[in-house]
């Protein structure tokens, strides 16, 4: 039997993930990540103050490409976005960790990168803290955590999130508002765990 092509693999894993296979996502990441990274590169190269390129526009590209490759195994575009949001969260958190490790390792940031690197370090730290808080939130309110993930990491609109979660858009908005306040309080050092 010939090994499955990357496209077939992606398709199979997506099915697995939809059917609740927790390992599927792990395996999906390395397959989809390059595509997202390519898009991220392009995003960065275009990203200039004043540009209005939206995350969703970027994900649209990714979706179209993947849909093409995987013969549209997605239920719909929003569904893909939900996966993509998870992936993006994963990727960004991993990279943020790498950069934090670099800093803790005491390695001097190379000269010309100074300014960029400093900003990145701060963002990396913030992102890691947010990720941690989001985990805590998920421990007692997974839906709200999901909403934040889709919104913040995936850039989905409220309507799209509602579509994925099959709940009313007003509920999504309320979830988002409450989760945002909770996260901000948690990150501001308030004791928010117990209720």
């Amino acid at each position: 039997m010939t090994p499955a092509s990357p496209e077939q693999q992606v398709t199979q894993l997506l099915c697995g993930w939809r059917n609740g296979d927790p390992g599927a996502l792990e395996k999906l990441i390395p397959l989809i990540q390059p595509e997202l990274q390519r898009l991220a590169h392009r995003y960065m190269s275009r990203e200039r103050p004043g540009h209005t390129l939206q995350t969703t526009a970027l994900l649209d590209d990714a979706y179209l490409k993947l849909a093409d490759k995987t013969h549209a195994q997605w239920e719909n575009r929003a569904h893909f976005f939900a996966v993509a949001a998870q992936l993006m969260r994963r990727i960004m958190v991993d990279h943020a960790r790498q950069r934090q490790a670099l800093k803790r390792g005491g390695e001097a940031i190379r000269v010309t990168l100074d300014e960029c690197a400093a900003v990145t370090q701060t963002r990396a730290a913030e992102l890691l803290a947010l990720d941690e808080a989001l985990e805590k939130l998920a421990a007692f309110d997974q839906r709200k955590a999901k909403v934040v993930e889709m919104r913040y990491f995936g850039g989905l609109t409220m309507e799209e999130i509602a579509d994925v979660l099959k709940i009313h858009v007003n509920t999504v908005t309320r979830d988002w508002t409450a989760a945002r306040a909770w996260l901000f309080a948690a990150l501001s050092g308030e004791e928010m765990d117990a209720i």
Binding site: R110, T120, A124, F140, A181
Partner: protein, 961 residues
């Protein structure tokens, strides 16, 4: 999953949010129903909700896109194709730039990874490659060369020339530039743009991040990688299918940082070359004032300023900003691009005119031209180094604008366009042009511009032929194209009368690739015939001859010849590469005489650029040249290398008979060779034929109008001959043509003023030279002399202390640093310190010289030191020895220097009459002491007040023309 308490908490929170602030407390009171813990939680959420601002409102992706990409540092130590990534060099618009090593060629490169999405398909990759080829093919000294675009481990990369130095952005972070510096940078950028625009390429992203400043004053424009071939304004010579492909490029994609965007870019309108002119205007404005012309707190504000506002005048930041500069900047920054400079050439001309005026003003501000060129005894030894270094000057290529009309039978063979698909054929195309040039240069009846001076015109577009011909001083131009595919070769060539743009002759050849020699010979013969050049039978035979029958050997030879010094990391490396290729070529065809000659030439270059002291390397070059001559006794190229070898082998003895013999042989078959001509001039100078030397140098600089060495040697010779007016004309012309760049102009002028006895003017010029500009030691020598002549002894000591190499190149015949210390101490009257310094210098001299053969230079230096130490008999004996070894009669170039040295020794040992007698011999002849030296150098203080000395000083002054 949600606990009930948490659920009620969020429900109450959501409901409270829908109520006005003042109603919330009552609502909570009601809803929480005495559950204080619950109420506190809701209140906390409300409080943080109200203060959360923009918290996580923008997707993470937009806030920190860099986190979606792997850590740039992770790649360090990894391999990409043949590149090993060594370090992160910086961050550019296209992402991270790495410093990497090409392990195949052993050179440093800058490596950029291309977003895969930018090169999603083969067509895009091809387009990028095509652009890279086009810009690199320009071989413009101000454009960064792209070596390679490729794919490895499913990553696309671009490998470019690695530039030492910093970006203009980094430089500006330390403050704005002087007007003259800013203009110099702008001139170089404009020159790069002019070349790129001629080739149909618009940069689109000119900004300080994309401009590199090298420590030697060179400016390099980066990132032509994102420049797209201009959709409009295709050069007339662009083939149709190429033009069709251009249609694919995205229109209206806004690129470039907002502040440097042109009005048309902010509107996403189609850009053209005038967009780059705008951006350069912004950069020039920023360089001079330290501020960008269009500002705003948000990008939108900046854009509206770009579209609507006029920038504050330069004078609002720099009070004394010249009005003309303001006009240039304003014209570059016209909102309506129709009102801007129509081309980068126009802007370049305006900038150059302005620079000329700046310099003229500085000149006027300096003292009048009534003094003369002089040189002190300390400089006697230093001069040896100066001339050695002058030879090592990098061979900058620039335009020259001769004033007289070019002769009828004159021609420049411009680089041919490579129309083949793969890049390797660039060598092939280069080889065809080179061979046609070489063939024509064999015709004595023609004036053929040297390869060195034509290679800068790689773009080969039609529109500038007239200008190019004017700059090179020729009436005719040859251009063409080469295409090789499937064993067939197609060559197009045309001869154009550049004065009238008339095509005199054009021909297409299509044959087997192996027949390329025949095509080259035919083209050369046709052109010679069209120009009605008289060809001797020998010349005809030489043109028809095949250099080798081995196609592979010939390809290696062509590749070696195609290596320009600026293709690689430096002269040394490129020469080594040449040697390797040529060694392979002669291995394949041991009868390939021309390859041997060229190999000898490269081996000689290694000897030369290493300082000219490795005699074994010189011997190697000589032997290779002799091998070539055994195969082909009349081969001019080999005779020329032999002449060079004999010249350097006999530098000390001045025995140049063999050099002259070899040169006669060389010039017989190489009538248009500027190197042979300038070597002849060097020999002339040493053999009392100063006028011949000048004539030869004039001829050499006509053949190689942009050659730095040739133009420098010519100016130097004018100075030595005390022809100051001609020197000034030559300097003006060389500055005008760009042959002299940056701070060098001021240094030459400082040196000139010193010779004229005006150290204050010299100081004023020096003040314009950044202290870090010390590419060559003569910079420090001039600084030292200025301080010494001004009797600013502390200043002189500071210069000595700051000189990087500590004046210590004893092997070049230069006295140790402490000799300079001794000079200063002696002039100050600090006898003890002077004695200590001279004693130290003497010890160092002896230690350094060791058992090496001691020539006139050694005895001259030791004599000066002994004179300083009061060892009169020894000093006089040694100084006489130096004169005996190299008397004026035997060497008209160095002879006068040793006589001056003898005069100094006499002066310092109380032999005033003898000192004056010696000085009288040299005060008015070429390469004798300058007026400034005699008048101001403290070393002659022992002679001052004597009317006979005054007469000598006056004579030196009167001898200048």
């Amino acid at each position: 999953m949600q606990s009930e308490r948490w659920q009620s908490c969020t429900e109450i929170f959501s409901a409270a949010l829908e109520r006005p602030h003042n109603a919330r407390a009552a609502f909570l009171e009601r809803s929480c129903n005495g559950d204080d813990a619950l109420r506190r939680k809701v209140e906390l959420l409300l409080k943080y909700h109200d203060t959360s601002g923009d918290f996580i409102k923008s997707p993470a992706f937009e806030v920190a896109p860099e986190l979606l990409v792997a850590d740039p540092e992770a790649l360090i130590g990894q391999h990409l194709g043949c590149y090993r990534v060594d370090a992160v060099a910086g961050m550019g618009g296209m992402g991270v730039i790495y410093l990497a090593r090409d392990e195949r060629l052993g050179r440093k490169v800058a490596l950029k990874l291309l977003p895969r999405s930018m090169v999603a398909n083969e067509a895009e990759l091809q387009r990028l490659k095509r652009e890279a080829r086009t810009t690199s093919a320009l071989n413009h000294p101000n454009i960064v060369t792209i070596h390679d675009i490729g794919e490895a481990d499913s990553t696309y990369y671009v490998a470019t020339e690695f530039i030492e130095g910093e970006t203009l952005r980094q430089h500006l972070a330390r403050g704005q530039l002087l007007v003259s510096e800013g203009v110099d940078v702008a001139i170089q950028v404009a020159s790069a743009l002019a070349a790129a625009h001629d080739a149909g390429i618009v940069h689109r992203d000119i900004k300080p991040e994309n401009i590199m400043l090298r420590p030697d004053g060179y400016v390099k424009v980066l990132d032509f990688g994102i420049a797209k071939l201009a959709e409009q304004e295709l050069p007339a010579t662009m083939p149709r299918d190429e033009a069709l492909l251009l249609g694919e490029t995205n229109l209206g994609l806004i690129l470039g940082t907002v502040r440097y965007m042109s009005p048309e870019q902010t509107c996403a309108a189609q850009v053209d070359k005038r967009t780059d002119i705008w951006s350069l205007g912004v950069v020039l404005y920023e360089m001079v004032t330290g501020h960008v012309p269009f500002t705003g707190d948000t990008p939108a504000e900046v854009m509206s300023a770009i579209l609507e506002k006029e920038p504050p005048p330069l004078t609002s930041y720099v009070a004394r900003a010249p009005a003309e500069l303001h006009q240039i900047v304003s014209k570059a920054l016209r909102k309506d691009r129709g009102q801007r400079y129509g081309s980068a050439h126009e802007l370049l001309d305006a900038l150059k005119n302005f620079r000329r005026k700046l310099e003229a003003e500085l000149e006027r501000a300096a003292a009048p031209l009534w003094l003369r060129w002089a040189r002190s005894p300390i400089a006697l030894m230093l001069l040896l180094l100066v001339s050695a270094l002058a030879l090592a000057l990098p061979f900058y290529r620039h335009r020259n604008l001769p004033t007289s009309l070019p002769p009828e039978k004159s021609i420049a063979v411009l680089p041919f366009e490579n129309l083949s698909k793969d890049e390797e054929n660039a060598f092939f195309a280069g080889g065809v042009q080179d061979e046609i040039l070489t063939n024509l240069a064999k015709v004595a009846d023609l004036k053929v511009i040297s390869r060195a001076s034509v290679m800068q015109y790689r773009s080969g577009t039609e529109r500038n032929l007239r200008e190019i011909a004017k700059a090179l001083g020729v009436s005719h131009v040859v251009e063409g194209s080469v295409q090789r595919a499937g064993g067939r070769v197609r060559v197009n060539a045309q001869l154009i009368d550049a004065r009238s743009d008339r095509h005199l002759w054009a021909e297409k050849y299509e044959r087997d690739a192996a027949d390329v020699f025949a095509i080259q010979s035919e083209i050369a013969q046709q052109i010679a015939g069209q120009l009605r050049a008289r060809l001797s039978a020998a010349e005809k035979a030489a043109i028809a001859e095949r250099p080798t029958a081995d196609v592979v050997a010939y390809a290696l030879y062509t590749e070696a010849k195609g290596i320009e010094w600026y293709d690689w990391e430096g002269v040394d490396r490129s020469t080594e590469r040449k040697v390797k290729l040529l060694e392979k070529a002669v291995q394949r065809d041991p009868n390939f005489a021309l390859a041997y000659a060229y190999l000898a030439n490269a081996q000689f270059d290694i000897f030369h650029s290493a300082g000219g002291s490795d005699l074994r390397q010189l011997e190697l070059a000589k032997q290779t040249a002799e091998t070539a001559l055994r195969l082909r006794p009349d081969l001019g190229e080999a005779h020329l290398v032999l002449a060079e070898c004999y010249y350097y082998a006999n530098l000390e003895t001045g025995d140049f008979d063999r050099v002259r013999d070899e040169l006669v042989m060389a010039r017989r078959t190489l009538p248009n060779d500027s190197e042979a001509t300038s070597l002849a001039a060097k020999v002339d100078k040493r053999q009392h034929r100063w006028e011949d030397a000048l004539a030869n140098l004039r001829r050499a600089s006509e053949l190689d109008p942009t050659g730095v060495e040739v133009t420098y040697t010519r100016r130097r010779t004018l100075l030595e001959m005390r022809r100051y007016r001609e020197w000034e004309q030559a300097l003006a012309r060389d500055v005008e043509s760009g042959a002299i760049k940056g701070p060098r102009t001021q240094l030459y002028l400082a040196d000139f003023k010193l010779a004229q006895g005006d150290p204050l003017a010299a100081q004023a010029f020096l003040a314009q030279v950044p202290l870090e500009f010390s590419a060559f030691e003569w910079v420090w020598r001039i600084r030292f002399e200025v301080a010494l002549y001004l009797r600013d002894y502390d200043g002189a000591n500071q210069v000595i202390a700051a000189t990087p190499a500590k004046f210590a190149h004893v092997h070049s015949g230069q006295p140790p640093e402490s000799w300079a210390d001794g000079q200063v101490a002696r002039a100050r009257g600090d006898k003890q310190k002077a004695l200590a310094a001279f004693a130290g210098a003497r010890k160092e001299m002896q230690a350094n010289w060791g058992d090496k053969p001691k020539g006139a230079q050694y005895f001259a230096i030791i004599a000066g030191l002994d004179a300083g130490l009061g060892r009169k008999e020894d000093a006089i004996g040694e100084a006489l020895r130096a004169v005996e070894l190299m008397p004026i009669a035997k060497d008209s170039y160095w002879g006068p220097r040793f006589v001056m040295n003898l005069a100094l020794v006499y002066a310092w040992t109380g032999e005033r009459a003898r000192a004056l007698e010696e000085l009288e011999k040299v005060a008015t002849i070429p390469n004798g002491p300058t007026y400034g030296d005699l008048k101001l150098n403290p070393c002659w203080d022992d002679l001052r007040g004597d009317p006979r000395f005054d007469k000598i000083v006056a004579a030196a002054k009167a001898a200048s023309r």
